[in-house]
Symmetry: D3
């Protein structure tokens, strides 16, 4: 719709729009009264605001997940945009607002993502890898197409997990075309499963946190466990060479032990999968930061990129591809 | 018996005894002829020797696992003892020699080790932990009491895996007595299972190598897989808190990600298990080196101890405990 | 006594009790007035509170070391408990309160600690090590049984230094029982002396800071200096092998140069002492954090444990040992 | 042709073929006589051999670059194949052998490589980047299509530098198709120039060594110098934003300062170029090792891949793409 | 003049003096009003102050670079001195104040610095090194004698760059006197040019920031570019050995790749230059901190010195040199 | 004298001269006979040679420390010069040769070194520092002017320890002249004592090894012990500020804990001493390597300089200082 979004407003401009409450933390002000530290979100991004002298009713009403109508002013505070609140009210039935409409989403629709995944599964010509991928996909289907790929950092949006997977499949296809000796079915199977354990490690698409299993076991071990379970169900030997290869590709995908892989890549496809994963995560992290940076300026320093900051050029480049 | 062992001989003393061939690598000498680089072993340790101008018959006869009667002279070569070979012959039936009698063994007998393990299992009072430990022990019983705890470094002898486990249980008992808030059943269950995956990771007690599953998955993931399998068989929920705790204790036992644990200790018992494992491995590695070092000298530098060398004191200490 | 302690109160409950002022830092509020940032303490732990618009009389009265009667409300501020102050008054003679009664103390009484240390000294059968330990103990007796083992982190309570030492002696006894080749007298002498330099490095039991000698020389060099002094007094050769061993065990007890040991363990007992020290410090640091964590939750991240956080399980374990 | 190559022979098989002398190092044997340590090469790979009791004539004749006819036997020495020499003679005119025919070459012909590069230059639509790339290409054309991409490790063959560049351009095209916000002209210009400094850093295609400029300045600074020179020649401002971007992309392409980049990637295209470079180098290094590894075995440990070894699977995978 | 400077005042003393506005950041207070976070400076150092409820006129008037007359009180806030503002007014013509008079300056006058540099240039007896140094000096003369040597940390004052260079020349002279085999002309040429790129990397003497070229290329590459340009202008071969040596000495002066040198010292003079640079920077950083530390106290922790803090002794030392 | 030294001969030139046996290691050849691996030395450097088929008489005669008359030929073996032995005989009385005349020596005579040290002691105007330095110097005088400064690496020659100290004093003088705020007496006292512990850590000037005290305590703790002893003898308080400063300067002189300093520099003079020590050691290590490198070549990689190799330029530089 043509309605203005959070990031369509300029600094020092008055704002009036529906947003969803992403976070609402109650704190104690120095004057002893309570205030709510809000994070609001719509599909254009997230912004913070402070609600001073909050009553118990305010605290009860304005909770995470609610759609609210917000009036205020966008301002700059220590270099970051925030909202100075004028007024806040809950959306009512008559407003016809749905919370999930406000969440950022993957650029591809769920049905497009499903179709891409299905095509890739079709290309896994080794029967056992194919059966295992399908068995696991079926059990985690709902979460796989709904969850983000990470709590923060990159692909932290609804459908992010499947979108990250599909992008990696595209890159894998191009790489296999370049290097004919890579086993494409193994690489595809590995990519589809590599982050599937996040459907157990994370709590969901909204207010994402780590589950206890996520904290104590981690998504790498969790998906390996699923593969073993699939083997039992499908009567496939989990210690045959083809299964050891598939499991290794997934266990090793963080590339180094210090990043949480219990083994490091020791077959070609494991090394390649790790590179593709790293490449897509880096580009998405960078792009997520640069799209909120003004041309001619450096971004904030990005924790997940060794604390580097990145420059968004002023110049326009004529790109025959897109122009 | 009163027969002299390999390390009962002095340098420059003639030797004549039965030993087992631990390794026999055929190489090409600079004169173009083949020679065999032997490693001989008896229960006192290992020593090397070169067999020059080896015929094809020699190569076929003197293979790893054979018992041989060796005459020669112990000498020092670049600071290490070796045997200068005079003559070598295969043991014959009449010699009444059995290869396994020559391998170093754990200081406790197999039945003592079994009894100790059984007592510890008995002390695991949580029913699900107890059932899982027993289910897995039963499946790996033979290997568990036969395998070494590592390919080299420490406890690299027959029964080493069970002996390492039993020593850790002793230390755990003392630590639990000191700190009453440690959950002893969880610590015991974790200790018994923590290295059980080595029965799959390693190839066996003689000429130990890594299996393909050992290389590509590693013993930490391999034992976690067994626990999941035990849960299926015993109808225990592998994602209940009690199971997450047990699995975490084992997954985290290397203490740091860079040492191959996919997660780092995040519960008390995981931290304690890691310390006990490290303590026993360090002491055994040190002792194994120091017992071949002359009093008043430094040992060789030990790779597994950050390349440090260790001093064996000359002085005798009157120890009321042992004297 | 049956009086409620600081950590017996729940969040949002009104509190009224005597506590000791552990810290009282005067700061400037944004309105230009002074306030006092208090840390209060009793034997159950420490908690902070802010005292706004402090007069000069307030500042003079409510200083570190004073016992005060406090009324207020326990609240949660950014996930940590704090006190919202209603009123504060100094304890008066009639209240019969003594500051030192409010400090956390070692679980063992001073006389129990002394008895344990004496027994261990008795077991040091090497005459020279025995005489040196007794000579140094006598010079630092008062501080040794009074000081904490560290400024913060672990055993940061009255008597913590001696308690840490005694716990390590218990563990050492069990370890020597398991590995008969360890020289128990050397290990005992090393343990008793290893942190004795902290009686010079630290300023005392209350408001503990580092002394200039502590900063510029460190407790490891300070205790080595004492041993040299003991040798002079007792006419023992400080460069004899037995003295080099004792001094090495102590100099190397941090295990690695980057942790401040000028030499790394190069004899067996030095390696073992380092492990015991590390084990006890880790367990006490963890336990100190977990006892203030709610079951089913993760603790805060612990700086001294590589920034890890730890989970306190919900489940109860039937422990035959303690139940 | 159907003639057998070096790596078409099995171990212990007699060999008889023309090869080129890649290296010929004269050394002193223990008997005081000289021998030549040869490295022979043909398009299938490299192998070593020792030539005992070499006369001065032998030493003068059999020098690097010469084609020789070799008879001998392929053998295994410490796990690596080598040739036991029977006889060696120089190729004569009548043999119609040319040294350069024996060198391994890029899988694409020089004219194909040129055509690919030209197409990519055509796609650099920014006029200044385009002119600079063409100016530099023209000056280094001969070396660029002739040199290897590295002294050892990867693409260490004739034409390797251009082949590495062309492969990276293919990958870049696929990546730009996936992420439309990447400036393709900048990425292409960066890729074509990124390793061009190696034409100055290295000595050539045969017996490749580092030049003095290569050692003291390195190829990254050397190519930046060329860009500055191009700017002078073409009257382009080297400190304009478009030039700073191009130079940064190239200076940062090693990704981290410790790998020799004076600055780390701080624009999107620099980050992407670094990933593509790393990906192609890793795959080529791996493939170069795996093609000399037997199926079902692990390769040697690869220095440039953190000392990891890699497994070559036994199983065949039906790949719809290539089958 | 005898007027009191900022650091001549004690804590809690009223202040009244002219200072220059070094920084003036506008922020939003919690009450929704704007305030200015000031940094004031005079030749004795820098101090901060907050200006509450700032009007738009205030914001427009009190900008960086302005001289202001300030009345207030020096106070301690979280261990650091700050000014509590009473009143602030712009200096007027009648006050006869010039902003640049308030900036800290190098201890040597500009003409002294010039004379020292000229003498050193005179000692560069190799004709090509001499011509290049003079060509570059001439182009950057103004900035070289005006700029600081770093944005913060050390020599962050007007003329700091030339002063740092002159001090290094003094040290180099003493070192060459001690080690006669060092090539003094090469060392001198390297020192004069080593940080000259900072005249491009930094924005100037006031409110110093990094330029885009500084961020994307860095001062090490920028000065190498100038040398290449000088070679072109003076018709000197930039790839001759003497030029490679000079360029290497400068490229390597950060000593290690991780500190931004694309190559590490590989000739004697490069190693020596790095040590001299490091020594002078360390001493100046330390001295800048210690002169604001009270005797008998430790300084704050210094980020650029691995986070160490430094002690300023109480004792006076009779120094025959200065007393 | 005009006699040719070891390094006056060219490769492939016959040699005939007196040298001293620096090392004589008896090893077993592959033919089962013994040979002696010699290291010969004269004041120009060290060279190796192998003596084949050594008889027991040879082994007894040609031991370390003996002067021998050697005829043979200098050759290159794997890039390093060695001697091919023709004949070897012990020097006889009539040859008038003394072993110590063949050892490399410090460039300054012992009496010059003593005079320099005495002058520096004279400049230590603080009475207590002065008395301590003189007390310690007196006890270690003989060794101090005789020992090397290190076992290998740098200043590994007779008198090297005192020469290293004197060079550092020269540099310190120049640095104090540049930075008037450095306490010269403290720096001088620190320099004279900083490596004095090496007279206990090392075994002597010939065939230098580490003593047991050197291994287990290290020279840093050993000299601190001497200072404490000096305090006792001279009735100086070792915990006064002036003594803490002196001891800190010495304890911290390795600069970082990982290099064996139990504390890191926390006063100005400690930081400066560390830099001077590092500078002199680096230059001497480099020079020792470069003087055996041909102009226009790179040296071997130097272990003590992070494995870097160094280039010795071909060009001659006209140095007004020395020409």
């Amino acid at each position: 719709m043509a309605e203005k979004k959070l990031f369509d407003y300029q600094n020092n401009e008055n704002v009036a729009l529906f947003v969803v409450v992403k976070g609402a933390e109650v704190r104690l002000a120095k004057n002893g009264k309570k205030f709510i530290a809000f994070t609001f979100e719509d599909s254009s991004g997230q912004i913070t605001a402070k609600f001073w002298d909050a009553s118990e009713t305010d605290i009860t009403s304005f909770q995470a997940g609610k759609v609210v109508y917000l009036t205020g002013k966008r301002e700059l505070y220590q270099g970051k945009p925030q909202i100075k609140l004028f007024k806040l009210r809950l959306a009512q039935e008559a407003d016809h607002q749905t919370a999930t409409d406000f969440l950022p989403k993957a650029p591809l629709s769920k049905s497009d993502l499903e179709q891409e995944i299905n095509q890739a599964v079709f290309a896994i010509t080794n029967p056992n890898w194919n059966r295992i991928v399908r068995w696991i996909l079926q059990r985690h289907q709902t979460e796989f197409f709904d969850y983000p790929a990470a709590k923060t950092n990159h692909h932290a949006f609804e459908g992010g997990l499947a979108f990250h997977t599909v992008t990696m499949l595209h890159l894998a296809q191009a790489i296999c075309a370049e290097y004919s000796f890579i086993k494409q079915p193994l690489l595809y199977a590995g990519i589809i499963l590599h982050d599937m354990g996040k459907t157990i490690e994370l709590s969901g698409a909204m207010a994402t946190t780590y589950t206890l299993a996520g904290n104590l076991l981690g998504h790498i071990v969790l998906i390996d466990e699923e593969i073993v379970r699939a083997c039992t169900a499908l009567k496939i030997d989990p210690s045959s060479e083809e299964l050891l290869l598939l499991r290794h590709v997934i266990l090793a995908h963080h590339g180094r032990k210090e990043y949480g892989s219990p083994v490091e890549p020791e077959i070609l496809e494991a090394e390649v999968l790790h590179h593709i994963d790293d490449l897509d995560a880096s580009i998405m992290m960078l792009q997520g930061t640069l799209e909120h940076t003004e041309p001619g300026n450096f971004s904030e320093r990005i924790f997940g990129m060794d604390g580097r900051h990145f420059y968004r050029p002023e110049m326009k480049v004529i790109d025959p591809k897109t122009d």
